[in-house]
């Protein structure tokens, strides 16, 4: 049994010092602009944080920092590892194996993405605490009469938070690695097989190492999502760093101190990402084979098929079906809400904001990724990553970083208009829908950038070289080579941002115009009164609206003809 060390298949990229054309210069300029656009709120936060002494940091350092840091690291490690295992494992089973129910599960596995984390957190408390169905059944079965008679795991705990977040967030890893597995060179896999690699070795020694950029991108998103979460950790009483940020700001009136903490946290995330990149080194991971040839899948039968089915079904049940069932139960007692004007207009607002944000985020991420590819400069790809750190900043803190520059521009324009024409324009940007889109872009650019960057890395440089040799300028090469090849990834990126924006809450709440509700803010208003039940209908609508594009995307990109065959997609 000989297995191929992955390094053999990775081609090491040494072709540096290529001529930089005009097209790529322009692309770099646009990339710089985008970075500036995204960096403005971060700079505003840095400015805020400079406006205070280090007293807040000292208090936090002396009291909660140690424990909060440990809790945060444990949470990140727990969620990171379990989402990687679930996401990569299910993606591999779905792409490489055939078993009953696979076609359905391949779609169903992304469903948890449509459910906001704080809603799932809430439903699990309902399901698993003393009065929930699980414990009620236990008591009935064994004749217990109070919680003192038996032990039951406490969901409102760190392990509970890890469980809930993993169940909801694994689709990030599933989606990014599934696309990568599908794009993976059949040749590499087949050569490995010919050389005697069994399915297991193929997975651990060839496919996973090759998919590493995608797995890292997916897990990176999961971790940042974890870090900026406040809803679920607050509800579970899990004291993370984000908690300390909010306490510093809200209870001690020290926004500067909170901004300092938030920036430190962001720096930490950035270092994590940089460390992963450094570990990956300068290997490139693109495929060299004829990619429209898919390796023959493994036909599973008997207990193997059953086990694979269960392994893919379980995450769907935990992250989607159980919470959705509870929501449906509540909503069934409030059917009139589905047609209420409030829910309808909130739904329209949500879809508008999410569509707009998703389009812009994909466009911007694509420009960043393409500029990095054309210029082949490490600085430009670093810029791209820099543009995506907004994700880790707690939403409300980020919102303030956005308000300050927007309101400053508004007030400046107002001043000029008053001076010149005697007309007051008031606040045009701050407090309009634009501020929300801006915030969502800063937050979710990381999502589209991560998935596009990973997919772009899969496209061999040789294609670029061939295209350029055949006389294609970067602009035409973009439309004739890269865009067709990236269709699947573009769709996935769009969808991820769309769904994330649908769920976005903390920044939207603070930035919205008067009387402006999205579905998420509507749910939040109910939940903050302590009557979550009343929010079940709009929460289900969030889920439903997220599910529709998920279905469309997966149908379009279904396995064997996933747009990899670029010659045919050109003629379409």
């Amino acid at each position: 049994m000989v297995s191929i060390p992955p390094t053999v298949i990775r081609s090491t990229n040494r072709s540096k010092g290529r001529r930089v054309g005009l097209g790529s210069l322009r692309a770099v300029a646009v990339a710089l602009l985008i970075c500036g656009f995204v960096a403005v709120p971060l700079i505003a936060l840095a400015a805020i944080s400079a406006g205070s002494s280090s007293a807040a940091l000292e208090h936090v350092a002396a009291t909660v920092l140690g424990r909060a840091a440990v809790t945060t690291v444990l949470l990140l490690a727990g969620v990171g590892i379990s989402t990687a295992v679930i996401g990569v494992g299910t993606a591999w089973l779905i792409t490489m194996c055939r078993f009953p129910g696979r076609n359905l599960l391949q779609v169903a596995l992304v469903l948890p993405l449509a459910v906001p984390t704080y809603i799932v957190a809430y439903t699990y408390v309902e399901l698993l605490d003393y009065t929930g169905p699980a414990q009620t059944a236990l008591r009935a079965l064994f004749g217990f009469t109070s919680s003192r008679d038996y032990w039951f795991p406490e969901i409102r705990s760190l392990p509970g938070a890890i469980f809930v977040m993993s169940a909801v967030l694994y689709p990030y890893v599933y989606m990014t690695s599934r696309i990568l597995f599908m794009m993976q060179s059949a040749a590499a896999l087949e050569v490995s097989r010919t050389l005697g690699c069994g399915p297991r070795r193929l997975f651990t020694h060839v496919a996973v190492p090759l998919a590493r950029p995608a797995i890292a991108a997916g897990v990176g998103l999961v971790l940042m999502e974890c870090l900026n979460d406040i809803g679920a950790v607050e509800f579970f009483g899990v004291r993370t760093m984000t908690f300390a940020i909010y306490d510093t700001w809200l209870n001690r009136g020290n926004l500067a101190g909170a901004a300092q903490l938030a920036l430190i946290l962001t720096l930490f995330v950035f270092m994590l990402i940089a460390a992963e990149r450094a570990a990956r080194g300068r290997q490139s991971y693109h495929a060299t084979g004829r990619r429209h040839q898919r390796p023959a899948p493994f036909q599973l039968g008997g207990w193997r098929a059953f086990a694979a089915g269960i392994a893919c079904l379980l995450p769907v049940l935990l992250g989607f079906a159980f919470p959705a069932m509870l929501l449906a139960d509540y909503a069934s007692r409030r059917l009139e809400q589905f047609a209420s004007a409030a829910v309808l207009s909130a739904g329209l607002n949500s879809v508008t904001i999410a569509t707009l944000t998703a389009c812009l985020a994909v466009l911007m991420a694509f420009v960043l990724v393409y500029a990095a590819r054309l210029s082949r400069s490490r600085a430009v790809s670093a810029l791209g990553r820099l543009a995506s750190i907004g994700y880790a900043i707690p939403g409300t803190v980020l919102a303030i970083g956005i308000l300050i520059p927007l309101a400053a521009v508004d007030n400046f324009v107002d001043g000029v208009m008053r001076h010149l024409f005697g007309v007051s324009t008031g606040l045009l940007l701050a407090g309009s829908g634009i501020a929300i889109v801006y915030a969502c872009l800063v937050r979710f650019l990381a999502v589209s950038h991560g998935s596009l960057e990973a997919a772009m890395a899969k496209i061999s440089d040789h294609l670029d070289m061939a295209a350029r040799t055949l006389g294609r300028r970067p602009g035409r090469m973009l439309f004739e080579v890269h865009l067709p090849l990236l269709q699947g990834a573009l769709g996935a990126a769009w969808l991820l941002v769309f769904v994330d924006t649908m769920k976005e809450l903390s920044a939207t709440v603070l930035l919205r115009p008067f009387d402006f509700e999205t579905l998420a803010t509507y749910v939040y208003a109910q939940a903050s009164r302590g009557v979550f039940e009343e929010a079940a209908a709009p929460a289900l609508v969030i889920v439903a609206i997220g599910v529709i594009p998920l279905m469309l995307l997966l149908r379009a990109g279904q396995d064997d003809r996933s747009g990899q065959d670029f010659s045919s997609s050109r003629s379409r």
Binding site: T131, F235, I400, G431, L483, V509
Partner: protein, 348 residues
Amino acid sequence: MLKRLGGLTGCVLLPVTLSAMMSPALAEEVVNIYSYRQPELIKPLTDAFTEKTGIKTRVIFAEKGLEERIRAEGANSPADVIMTVDISRLSAAKDAGVTQPLTNEVINSRIPAQYRDPEGNWFGLTARSRVIYASKGRVSEKALTYEDLADPKWKGRVCTRSGQHVYSIGLISSMIAHHGLKDAEKWLEGVKNNLARKPAGNDRAQVKSIYAGECDVALGNTYYMALMLTNEKEPEQKEWANSVNVIFPNSDDRGSHVNISGMAQAVNAPNRDNAVKLMEFMTSDDAQEFYAETNHEYPVVDGVAISDIVRSFGELKADTLPLSDIADHRKEASELVDRVGFDDGPSS
């Protein structure tokens, strides 16, 4: 693909931009409310106000950061009034410089001085007491004090929400105001040692925990009990609430800690006259009765009746210490919670 994206972007951008640009242009009679209080709880009142005066109301609701928003918006901020659900936020707004003092005969005559800022920056609209929920079956005491909760005899029997929640901060601030920082710290440590579990969940969750037998006593606001007892859509909440008695702490000495929901005028209020009209309206008997009946809070205006359910809890003897004194200790209270490690839960 790119063209398609671009076209789609344009289609969507246009209406959003337009609607955003249009809204400030509708310059009829309005009053703009920045609210920490849930819109559902104000809407019937603002509707009544609009009907009476013809002045439209517009609301932004958030739970965090409205002071910062007003500050960032600066001189052009549309905010006319700020509404909050606790004293800390009112004080924070005043400290952030986003309120302005108001001398108004109507408000000053109707709202007791204890529930007003001495400098006129804010006033209370409703009061709620932070009481002890006690298990009917397992707690025989009919009277308790906040200080009792630190007594080792309650070890493993106390539940509460996070110590950093504004309602907890209010109570801890009042303990600092009454006993000084040192004794308050000892007290909080004592309560921490008596906790049955880590502080988590909202006030309703504490009632549920007692029902489940996880703990015997818990801290919570009065109106949550009333809302649970009248919850027709989720009737099991009635059952939880029925397993619990309400005890007004310290009824035999200084009285129970009371927090307020309140209102302040924003510093650059563009519709100042309308804002004053709204504030006067909120102190009217009609508005006060509405709060009492639908949300089961205590009206702050004398002579307005409390709801039947709230009356059934017993007599509230409110701590008379001015709320502004309590609010002064909110930062210390928050730091104390960290220092004691209250939210880490019972040490054992």
